[in-house]
Each structure stands twice: as structure tokens, then as C-alpha cells.
Symmetry: C2
Subunit: 176 residues, 2 copies
DNA sequence: CGCTAGCTTGATCGAAGTCAATCACCGTGG
DNA sequence: CCACGGTGATTGACTTCGATCAAGCTAGCG
């Protein structure tokens, strides 16, 4: 209902990768008892609506339209995962950081009104560690790239978490 | 029905990322006229069964069970995409190459019988360029890592394409 | 006050990228 | 049959980007 949840996977040796962010009001959970689960963790304060698995699955089985809507969301998640694969595989560190900021800016904004504004601001739901794990970088590299973006006036940051973007297009231009 | 298809995405500047491989007998195509498409390209000789979009969508709308099966496949693809994000984000070059070989070994094998064998062999459906684009590496790095895997007796390669894996477990151990 | 957690900054190192040469394999045409 | 060019893969020398190691800095809090 509110907030940001991060989905992560770990490798035996402790390396960890954030594989997705879910913003309200997405559905969260494994359908059809599938394995290979990810770990879900609140990244900000969250408020959520819990439904017992059995009841939910009965509901889904009974109303194909509900399944259809869930299908739509999963398809969107698949597209986002693939977009992110491009970012992870092909972009430089600074492009990665810019891309993540751009992604968050686009999703977190509660004012879903006339999205014509070029400037925006938001609170980062992720720590530097989370960001590094999402981007496949170290926190030091993330920090340096944020510093650089700040030096180039692409963003400004107060209290390490609150980000102001004077021009989303300028930020987008940094995404590669 | 037969063969391997690769799904790719490109970045304006020409950088390209393979975001998925589809092995027979997967369904291939965009459901529900979604945007944000990927490019599908045959990676080996393929044989496929084409269905007109309109007829197919009518069929899906009419038989929820069909939609349910497609849902299952997409869920699997999402899991695979997320697994691959971990590989792209956290693994070293040689782990990436080993992971790709392991992935292909697991999917391409037509003998879906008693999968207890620890050794296998197959023809790579991908060129070095494709592999590099899948892994977010350069062809030179891919080549060096393959050479190293060969030197360490984890695989042997003939004619650049035919790969023999004496021990899948040994290969898996190289995946990180 | 000092302590801790999270972030930034600097110095150095190493894995992978870049540039370039060579090789192996083919199909084509003289 | 063999020279020729073309494509894809390998190998080597060098460079670079991001990781690692190591201090500081800042803010919140007991």
C-alpha cells in the first residue's frame, strides 16, 4: 500500500544482489508455490495488506481476470528485470548510478498527476550498501559517482538521503 | 519446436545485451501487445510454430488454463532473469563463463531422461560475440576464460563450438 | 562527551578492457 | 590445385576502471 520493498538474492560466499524493487501498490509474493525464491525486505517504512496464501490461490483460480492482472504485473517485472540486465551488463559505474536514480525518480513519485515536470525530488529508500548491491558495485564507487553527479549539478543531496533533481532530462542523459 | 533463440536489447550507442535464451519448446512472443520489446534472433537452426496474434489472443481469453500455462513460463523466465542478474552483478569473468556453459548444458540436452549423468557434451549455439554480450564482457576476455577452463581440464573444445564437460559438478564449482 | 554507523575521500592494486598481431578455417575464383 | 581474402577465435602488450585497503568525516544517541 505504501513504501518500497527490495528483492535480493545471495551467492553462497555472501555476495548479494538486489534483483528488484517493488513500489506500492504491487503484489508481492510467490504464486503457485514456486521455488527459487528471492528474499523480500522492506527498504523504507512500508504498509502492506496480507492475504492468506490458500485463500488467495482459490480466488485466483476462480477469477481468471485476477490472474490476468497479476500476469500483467509479472510481465512488467520481467521487462524491468531485462532492462536492468542491460544496465548491469553494459553500463559504466556512473551510468549505473544515474540509471538507478532515474528509475527511483520515476517510480517513487506519489504525485501521479501531470507528469510533465522536468524536476523532482525524493528520499532515497536505499542505503549506499543497498545501492551498491543493486548495481553490482562497491559502496566506495557508488559514493564517488554520487559525488561526481553532485559536482556536475545533475543532482543535489542533503542529509545523504534526500535527492533533488533539477532536470530529469539531464539525469537521463547520464544513463548511457 | 527445435533450436535456440536469443533475446537481446540494445543501448543507443550500440552496446548490446543478450537478456535471455529460449530453448524449445518455449512460447516466444509478446503477450497483450506490450511495448518495450526485445529483439529475438535465432542462435542455431530453429524450427518454430507460428500462430496469428489475434487468433492466439482469442484462444487465451477463452481458455484460462492456457493463460495459466503461459503464466508459468513467464514466471520461470523472470526467475531466470533474476538469476542472471546475480551473475552479471556479482561474478567474475571466469565465473560468468562457467555459469553460461552450465546453463546451456542444463537446457540444451535433448535427452531428458534420467539426468543423473555427471558428464555431457553439446554444440554451443552462441558465437563468442554472443557469449560476450550475454555476459557483459569482451570477446577477448571470454576467449581467455575459455582457454583457462580448458587448461584446467574443466571442459574440452573442438572446432570452437563443440564442448565436452567431463564433470558437471566440477564445472558448477567454477560458477561461484 | 565519546561511541557507533553510514558516508566520503585518498592511495594503491588488479581484473578486465583496449589495441594489435596472428592463427585457423573456409569458400571463391584464377 | 593453390593463392586470396574474409571471418571468427586466440594470444600478447599495455591501459584503465573499479575494487581494495585505509583514514577521516558527520550525525545521532546513550
Amino acid at each position: 500500500m505504501r513504501g518500497v520493498v527490495k528483492l535480493t538474492k545471495v551467492l553462497e560466499n555472501g555476495r548479494q544482489q538486489v534483483v528488484g524493487l517493488q513500489f506500492a501498490p504491487d503484489f508481492l509474493g510467490r504464486l503457485f508455490g514456486r521455488q527459487n525464491a528471492v528474499t523480500a525486505e522492506a527498504a523504507s517504512d512500508v504498509e502492506l495488506c496480507e492475504v492468506p496464501r490458500a485463500a488467495f490461490e482459490r480466488l485466483v483460480a476462480e477469477y481468471p481476470q485476477l490472474e490476468h492482472r497479476l500476469f500483467g504485473q509479472i510481465l512488467r517485472e520481467l521487462d524491468e528485470a531485462r532492462d536492468w540486465m542491460v544496465t548491469l551488463g553494459q553500463k559504466t559505474a556512473s551510468e549505473k548510478v544515474a540509471s538507478l536514480l532515474y528509475l527511483i525518480a520515476g517510480h517513487i513519485d506519489p504525485s501521479t498527476g501531470p507528469e510533465t515536470r522536468d524536476s523532482t525530488e525524493f528520499d532515497l529508500p536505499l542505503s549506499r550498501i543497498d545501492i551498491a548491491e543493486f548495481l553490482g558495485l562497491t559502496i566506495e564507487t557508488v559514493s564517488r559517482q554520487i559525488t561526481k553527479l553532485r559536482a556536475d549539478q545533475v543532482i543535489s543531496v542533503v542529509a545523504n538521503r534526500h535527492v533533488t533533481v533539477p532536470s530529469l532530462n539531464r539525469l537521463k542523459a547520464r544513463c548511457g
